[in-house]
């Protein structure tokens, strides 16, 4: 019965105002502007596990990139109370205790804040597909709709960057290269952040993204569309 009510609700309930605002923003989204005209929100989620059907988001960390630089004044970090509070294998990784989660707000309160925080920004993440899947699944369930922000995957950017430099043959992916966030950060000698905290990981990803943005910009890629056309790196949801 409970399952039915949820399903009913998600199908016919009027979506949350934050979702409606989001839809309006992305109704006609212009891709032809210079890169510096776009806001990017680099984000990361910590999850109870990787099972798309039953695992949940327990924290979101995000930082904004505006004018092609990271603005610490505009960052976001919050814990989210999952339905299942018991600790899982992931608890050991992200070290958020069930007690902390018990005091957190539920997703239907946190996510509208996050959606408003993102505004018209493009979302950036490392292996962003996973984060987007969990984010939109939770949005759909609790707010009655998806968010429409296009997303950028720094993992794909990394592949494009490394392959584009001609070291590796086009289209062929060298299996020996690790595309984990930590490994890429040390490969490009970036400042390091503490892993497995959503905000710190978001920062680490933001550094990586900034690195690519500026390096590619030097290579003549100036607009979002150019970037989109240049690489197999974009994924518009």
């Amino acid at each position: 019965m409970k399952v039915f009510r949820e399903l009913w609700g998600s199908l016919f309930r009027k979506p949350h105002p934050a979702i409606l605002r989001n839809r309006e923003i992305f109704q006609d989204f212009d891709q032809s502007l210079p890169l510096s005209h776009y806001d990017f929100v680099v984000f990361d989620t910590e999850l109870t596990g990787l099972n798309k059907r039953k695992d949940e988001i327990v924290s979101i960390g995000a930082v904004r990139i505006r004018n092609l630089h990271i603005e610490l004044s505009s960052s976001f970090y919050e814990l989210i109370r999952p339905v299942t509070l018991e600790s899982t294998d992931s608890t050991l990784i992200h070290r958020i205790t069930p007690d902390q989660l018990r005091n957190a707000r539920p997703p239907e309160e946190v996510l509208p804040d996050f959606i408003d925080f993102c505004g018209n920004a493009l979302l950036v993440g490392h292996f962003v597909g996973i984060d987007m899947t969990f984010l939109n699944r939770t949005c759909k369930k609790t707010l009655g709709g998806h968010i429409l922000n296009p997303s950028v995957d720094t993992m794909r950017l990394a592949r494009g960057y490394i392959e584009g430099r001609g070291v590796y043959s086009y289209g062929h992916t060298d299996q020996s290269i690790s595309y984990r966030l930590e490994d890429l950060s040390s490969r490009f000698d970036l400042p390091r952040f503490k892993p497995h905290n959503a905000l710190e990981d978001a920062m680490q990803t933001a550094y990586l993204f900034l690195f690519f943005l500026k390096k590619l910009k030097k290579g003549g890629i100036k607009t979002l569309k150019q970037l989109y056309q240049a690489g197999r790196i974009w994924r518009l949801m």
């Binding site: 630089h69 004044s73 970036l190």
Partner: protein, 643 residues
């Protein structure tokens, strides 16, 4: 952590940023909440290698750039497009502070030399911080005072004919260990000199360290020794090295900067120094090694001075001292280093001048010492310091000899003063000079003078005598000045009333801040509304250091050295010592800049600074320095409660 307040939700700063700021000078001085507040406003940017961040005289600087990772080079471009490298900045260093504080455009060019991540602190936040937090203020004021001087000379640089090279930076930044080229080579002390010469020729080196039988380093032998002590002297090639070596070997720690090595060589009149680390000699450096780095330098002037064979030849050389000093200031030398350099150059000119004068007049009938007083005695000369000097000579029972000495030193004193004046050292308006018979006396008479000043019930006399208490030996026989100093220390132990007179008078001088913390400036005359930085700002610190040193039997005459000695012996706290030294150096620096500007404009240098011409920040700096004087006065008051 669950924060419902939206504002704080959107302003969490990652720990890494906080941790970084916590170990970055001067932000490490801030408390946690201020630091978090700062971190919230930070912008992070990435600049690939080769990005030009600042263009000299063009870029409006909107942020303080703190380097998180990477590196930058800072350089100047002259009209012909020539590039002079000024500095490299790495992690934890920052750029942009000076233009923000001064409200000017970028004063230099900055370009990343590596992929660089920076924390950008917006201009407004940075200025607020500088104005509201006194420790941050002090930090930037201090580094600012050094940089400020460089900026003041930017104009000058454009007209400067002296080519500027990357090498000039080295004097203050390169460590001695950076210029050691090879391991030291040794020879046994009983080996013949010919073997030493052969080894030096084979190895293409100019010196060997000499080892004694027990393996200790006993001395050094150089090619000059072989030339002068063997070949020129016609001695045998089998002479043991021991007989011609210089001993002991002068050493310098490997962490010393080349500037210090240069000073040591000039002071000791030597050309080789052994570089030491943990008691072990790692190599030898020569004056030549440093000169190669330095290009046109104080050392060249020094050599010219020493090489003069005629007194008249010295006249133009002393005029070059301001030129050398200007270079030092442009390179960012601290005021204390600059005065030390001026002192050494002036001492050498004096030494050469009096040596040549004695050659001319024949040897003196009695041993004597040329005494230096006042700022020369304290080794705190700036440009064109007035002459303050005197002669003390040995007592003799022979009236004939005494008469002869009187006659000799009269002529000697008079000629020396004339020559010094020709060299550009103005006469002392108070006539405290060796040409004045009153200040050209045998030892017993000098002892009598000091006894009189120390025992004097007459406060005025004590005051007139204060500059005499800063005397030091300048030329001749140094044993008499030493004896005189010992005598004063012993007498001061018993009799301190004169110090009370001094203290009372100093305390009568008001700190140049009014009750409302505005400046007290001259009310009348030519320098109306100007601040006499020497008498109002520097003299109180000099006086404080003098009184406490005399009271506590400290022999030093230099103000900074006195303050350090006082702190070392526990008479003042280390904190007070460094605060007072900072205040002193800061004002010295301002005075240098002021005087250099005047010299450049062909105006006779003076000590009058117009507060109206100072930026808010400079005023703030001066006020902080004056606040120290209030503290020094309070200490004197508690020390001499009778006042």
């Amino acid at each position: 952590m669950s924060i419902n307040d939206k504002n704080s939700v959107h302003s969490v700063s990652p720990e890494v940023v906080l941790t970084f700021l916590k170990k970055t000078i001067p932000f490490n001085e801030l408390d946690d909440s201020t630091l978090r507040d700062i971190a919230r406003h930070i912008i992070i940017d990435f600049f690939p290698k080769g990005t030009v961040l600042f263009k000299q005289d063009e870029t409006e600087v909107e942020y303080l750039y703190i380097i998180q990772k990477g590196g930058m080079k800072i350089y100047l471009k002259d009209e012909e497009g020539g590039i002079t490298l000024k500095d490299f900045r790495g992690e934890g260093a920052y750029i942009g502070a000076l233009p923000i504080i001064q409200g000017t455009r970028a004063n230099l060019n900055v370009e990343t030399v590596e992929d660089t991540f920076c924390f950008l602190l917006p201009k407004k936040i940075f200025l607020d911080l500088v104005q509201s937090n006194s420790r941050i203020t002090q930090y930037f004021l201090k580094s600012f005072s050094e940089k400020f001087i460089r900026t003041a000379y930017r104009e000058l640089r454009h007209r400067n004919m002296v080519p500027r090279t990357e090498g000039t930076l080295f004097l203050f930044s390169a460590k001695v260990r950076d210029i050691v080229r090879r391991e030291p080579e040794f020879i046994g002390e009983d080996r013949p000199v010919q073997e030493a010469a052969r080894r030096m020729a084979d190895l293409h080196i100019g010196s060997l360290l000499v080892k004694s039988a027990d393996g200790q380093v006993a001395g050094i032998v150089t090619d000059k020794d072989l030339r002068t002590k063997i070949v020129a002297a016609g001695r045998g090639l089998d002479t043991p090295v021991r007989d011609i070596m210089a001993s002991p070997v002068h050493t310098i720690p490997d962490s010393a900067v080349c500037f210090d090595a240069l000073l040591t060589m000039m002071k000791q009149q030597i050309h080789h120094l052994a570089v030491e680390h943990d008691g072990e000699i790692r190599g030898i450096i020569t004056a030549h090694d440093i000169m190669v780095l330095q290009g046109s330098s104080p050392l060249y002037l020094f050599r010219e001075i020493v090489a003069q064979r005629r007194i008249e030849g010295l006249y133009p050389l002393s005029q070059k001292v301001p030129l050398v000093v200007r270079t030092l200031i442009e390179e960012g030398a601290k005021a204390n280093n600059i005065t030390r350099m001026i002192t050494i150059l002036n001492d050498h000119i004096l030494d050469r001048l009096l040596t040549l004068l004695i050659d001319e007049m024949g040897p003196p009938p009695l041993p004597f010492s040329w005494l230096l007083m006042g700022s020369e005695g304290r080794k705190e000369q700036t440009f064109r310091t007035d002459q303050d000097n005197a002669i003390v000579y040995e007592d003799s029972d022979d009236p004939e000899l005494n008469r002869e000495a009187e006659k000799y030193f009269e002529k000697f004193g008079q000629s020396a003063i004339d020559h010094l004046e020709n060299c550009g050292y103005p006469r002392c308006p108070g006539d405290i000079m060796a040409s004045n018979p009153k200040w050209r006396q045998p030892f017993s008479q000098w002892q009598g003078y000091f006894d009189h000043w120390i025992d004097s019930p007459e406060p005025k006399e004590v005051l007139h005598a204060s500059i005499f208490f800063d005397f030091r030996h300048g030329f001749g026989d140094s044993s008499m000045p030493d004896k005189l100093r010992e005598h004063i220390i012993r007498r001061s132990e018993r009799q301190q009333i004169y110090l009370l007179h001094m203290a009372r008078d100093y305390l009568g001088q008001r700190v140049p801040l009014s009750f409302f913390r505005n400046f007290i400036v001259e009310k009348n005359g030519e320098h109306k509304n100007k601040l006499d930085i020497k008498h109002k700002g520097l003299t109180p610190i000099i006086n404080f250091a003098r009184i406490l040193s005399l009271k506590n039997g400290i022999k030093e005459t230099n103000t900074i050295s006195r303050l350090h000695a006082l702190a070392d012996h526990g008479h003042i706290t280390g904190e007070l010592c460094s605060t007072a030294c900072d205040a002193y150096e800061l004002q010295m620096q301002m005075r240098f800049v002021h005087q250099l500007k005047q010299l450049e404009n062909g105006v006779q240098p003076d000590n009058y600074i117009d507060p109206g011409q100072l930026s808010d920040l400079e005023k703030q700096m001066l006020k902080d320095a004056f606040a120290v004087i209030e503290r020094l006065h309070a200490i004197l008051k508690s020390m001499f409660p009778a006042i």
